[in-house]
Symmetry: C2
């Protein structure tokens, strides 16, 4: 099948501490979670960089799904990006213990002619790199460009981020980032300010509290799918975005109703992602499991 | 029409500061908001106490709706309970600036024989008083007893609160209180622990993040109805409980589906309550406005 969705982002080796345990040398990164989640729905092309130390076992994980790894550069002599984080009992907030950018410092994303796919996701990575990709694609072939970002870029690369946002149709960020980006506490107001920066569609992730969708003048909100145990929230937001974008790319329904359904799919995929460490739980499930839980979710919201 | 719902709680004179302004001598209290909200649906009997200073204008407010005020004691020489609170830009948390219990200190709720109504709500008030009411009603005539509480009673009257909870079918509390009551951060776990204390049904209010319902082994969650401006969150929780209990008392559908619908009604009533100061917004609307917004809410949650 032809690739339908392009993602650029990070592929990482994580070290994660949660109240449930600790995992060293875990597979992580925004593009890893995103592409795995999205490829339940459509073939995904991944553009990212790793070092020579990148384990074959991690590469095999991505190969399990319909993910095109031809854009995964291996930097000779380089070391893969590493992130070390910790979650306290409030699993909503990750505390970064260590970040080693390594190969990310020299990353030059190469975009092939064939990479001008109809759907593009610029996962959390330096806005300079997000822009570089955007400049290389044939925008006329692209139906929807979405992006994520994080506090670090909002603080340190605001100008480049603002430039990126001008070209974005959909931004998927968390509530703290939305507030930081706009100086607005109320998320409806924050979303409107973000819309004025470029993206007509704004999705705000609130962790265990669910998600808000702003679509032009329309809006909707969904709770999170309720779980008794959240083992590892790492990658929840990227898995959410992957489910959302994967579903949109599959249906090509970019109406408000289509987006509502897409955020529901994203929520369900994310609910699986946090049930085990790293990508472990996503690797166990099939699209039919996602569909089953979606029906359950729908049922819970029907009154 | 015959009374169907009994509430005991506080009737107060509030002083409120929010980022939108300040209101002195405002009508407030858990039983005021609750009874006003519930009486959109059924006739409500209110048991509470005020002082001689209680303004006639406040009494007239309650008289606008089907609220039986024969249980509103006026303590001769007494002063009405007063609460002074402040909200910062995060409108989820009230900061109490001053509390004057006044007549609440001597309150002896009197329950008539005819007060053994099918639905009872013990709004936020000293658990000793909640228990006193419970002991006076004919439990066989009562179909559902619900209660609220707050951090102060959890800290200072835990034993009495635990005793009350043994007799409760439904507790309606906020997320912070649920965590405080159980020592559990995860709200699913907290709810299960609360169930083991007595109430089979647990509703956890999360302010702008919506509400969780635990019904035996079943559960559901709803987001809040999204508002761009929250003028005054005071009474939101009591209005929510009023809408919920009012709707349940009207339909008498105590099934899981009935409760799901009831928390949706509660959410919608609460969304009106916060649009203006004090009871102002609730006074402007009719049940048909609630029904209209409920349809809109339903539509937003359909995907």
């Amino acid at each position: 099948m032809e690739n339908k969705l392009l993602v650029i982002g990070t592929v990482a080796v994580d070290s994660i501490q949660t109240p449930y345990g600790q995992l060293e040398e875990a597979f992580g990164g925004s593009a890893s979670y995103f592409s795995y989640a999205a490829s339940f729905f459509v073939p995904v092309k991944l553009i990212a960089v790793v070092g020579e130390d990148f384990p074959d076992t991690f590469r095999s994980v991505l190969s399990e799904h319909q993910i095109d790894l031809s854009g995964l550069q291996v930097l000779v002599g380089g070391k893969t990006f590493r992130w070390k984080g910790k979650y306290e009992f409030d699993m909503n907030v990750a505390q970064t213990l260590d970040t080693q950018l390594n190969v990310l410092l020299d990353f030059q994303p190469k975009v092939e002619k064939s990479d001008s796919l109809p759907y593009i996701f610029l996962a959390n990575i330096d806005p300079d790199l997000q822009l570089q990709v955007l400049k290389q694609v044939n925008r006329q072939k692209v139906k929807l460009v979405a992006c994520d970002t994080m506090n670090f870029w909002i603080e340190n690369k605001r100008q480049q981020l603002d430039e990126t946002l001008k070209h974005i149709d959909l931004i998927v960020i968390n509530d703290g980032e939305a507030r930081q980006l706009t100086g607005e506490t109320n998320l409806v107001k924050a979303a409107k300010k973000i819309q004025s920066l470029g993206p007509d569609k704004v999705v705000i992730k609130k962790g265990e509290h669910g998600v808000l969708l702003f679509y032009g003048e329309q809006f909707a909100s969904l709770p999170a799918y309720l779980l008794e145990e959240v083992y590892d929230p790492t990658g929840a937001g990227d898995s959410f975005a992957g489910g959302l974008m994967g579903y949109l790319s599959q249906t090509e329904d970019l109406s408000f109703e289509g987006f509502k359904k897409a955020i529901a799919y994203g929520s369900v995929v994310a609910s699986f992602a946090v049930e085990k460490f790293s990508l472990e739980r996503l690797r166990e499930i099939k699209l039919s499991d996602v569909e089953d839980r979606l029906k359950d979710f729908q049922q819970l919201l029907t009154f």
